[in-house]
Amino acid sequence: MRFEPPNVTEMNEWIAVGMLAFVGLLIPLGMMAVSYLIRPSVPETSKRATYESGEVPTGGTRIRFNIQYYMVALLFLIFDIETVLLFPWAVVYLDAVESDAVSLAEILGPMLIFVAILLVGLAWAWRSGAVQWARSPFQVEAEADRP
């Protein structure tokens, strides 16, 4: 028997996706179960020590850490959202161009302006040095000292 498109199929699709998610969990969990059954357990505190090249770990990881791509990550958020805005346009573009209802300028223009604004933003961020791995204050200092 065949499913009737579109409603049943559409629903069926997401069931299948959900089932793959389920299988995707099942397989790792199954492996973990198998491993749990066959692996040995020899508890000993020293081997549970955090690895730091064989030395006694000094200081932890829960520290204030200089994330040098912080600005880039912020930019990423903006660009990511704007990219999502472009998707519907990209989908309808070909049909819109082929249908004679709208002119090419009408369908292409807004997007060009949108991308242009994006790129101007990028250019500005680029110029102000946000689109790169931030140098640590130490490096900036060292560079200033250099003749």
Partner: protein
Amino acid sequence: MSTEIEPRPQDVDVTEDELEALIGDRAIGRDDHLNAPGFVINPDDVQDVLFDLRDEAGFDHLSCLTAQQYQDRYESIYHLKKYVDPTQEVSIVVPTTLDQPVSQSAEPVFRTADWHEREAFDLVGIDYEGHPDPRRILLPETWQGHPLSNDYDQTKPQLVTLSEHENPIQPDHVDSESDTMFLNVGPHHPATHGVLHIKAVLDGETVLDVDPDVGYLHRCEEQMCQQGTYRHQIMPYPDRWDYVSSGLLNEWAYARTAEDLADIEVPEYAQVIRTMGAELCRIASHMLALGTFALDVYGDFTAVFQYAFRDREVVQDILEDLTGQRLMFNYFRLGGVAWDLPEPREEFIAQTRDFLDELPAKVDEYNDLITSNEIFQIRCVDTGILEPEVAKEYGCTGPVARGSGVDIDLRRDDPYGYYENLEWDVVTEDGCDNYSRVLVRMQEVEESAKIIEQCLDLLEEWPEDEREVQANVPRTLKPDADTEVYRAVEGAKGELGIYIRSDGTDKPGRFKIRSPCFHNLSALEQMVQGEYIPDLIASLGSLDIVLGEVDR
């Protein structure tokens, strides 16, 4: 400026009289060595005299610092040289009393004295006043006593528990308000080329400071050599310093020093074989350096690494045919080499020639694969900068110095063996970066090939009845008591020097090794400050250290 017209002090040859005049009455005596005039000075005058020697007479290279204990005194010997002409040497002898072994530090004059003096303190027990960082260097912080001092009790147990060995820097860096992260790189790390421990302070991915912690592979090589007889028992040890196929180069350091000490003339034929063997070792060693450097930059055991090993394997086969060994050659003897080329001679020579013939194509392959790769270039060019002046301050030698444009090569500047009769060039690059050091090594491979080629020509045509492989050396060597000599050769990594003081027996009274890796490594902190972690690893790789030689 007028100073530019005057010749630099290091370009002017200094005679012994001039030195005497320069040091003046600060010299409280003379203690000449076989290789150099020696002046005895007071422990308070060290900086004063060394400053004068460096600035007035141009001795800009503190090649080695030997510390030793006599029955009645401690002695620190500063072996000074010039980078432009290493044959100009002077020794500054600083005696200190047994009950108060305190001497002025030379660190303000020569940055490289830092590690020299830490080692002297560690092993012999002389305190250097004004030293910026008077810690042990080779032995653990918790070690009791100084092993090369006369009153050291060898039976005393030296249990060092892990908790005692906890990082002394710890208190400074557990601060949760700190913006920096303390990271141990090594000893158990994929990129430290052995058991090196680097204490790094990071700000994000940026390296603020590094402190190499060496000594994990310390095997008392100096002491072992002091317990062996000159004639045969010491020669095996040099193979174990820089153990990655630089064996013959290391052996030559001992051979040269001991031959000078005992006044042994080496037959020319043996010198040619030595030269050829040593250059084969250099090729093998540089191939390994190239492969492991690629490993550090590429990040995996990639094709480059395997290719380098494949080609090194050919050299190893040749060396095996020549010496009977692949790793610990033990091929040199005082006064020559152990034996002649293997029979059938023609086959050996043909095999070696085959290798040399194939080499250019292989070098091209490396250039295609590595040096002309754009990603490799953005990774290596302008990273790990070592300015020539800094390189000299830190006593860097060998390919590391030559990659910084310091034109020094003991094979040419302080000739030994058969080098001066052969046609070859010293390779230098002015980039001062990781890339230059790779280029230098790759070109040195080609230069070594040239030398080997010429040696083969000579060996092939050498008249059969003049093939003397060893001079007539007495079974037991007993150089006169208190003869002192410091001699260096151009090892694969740089100036490998040995100081020997004889005490009238058939064993050295003091045997001191000047390891090039040790001092090249000390420059790491200058190279990586402000660089990123990947460049720390690449810079370390470009120094091409072998921990066996660093720690000895």
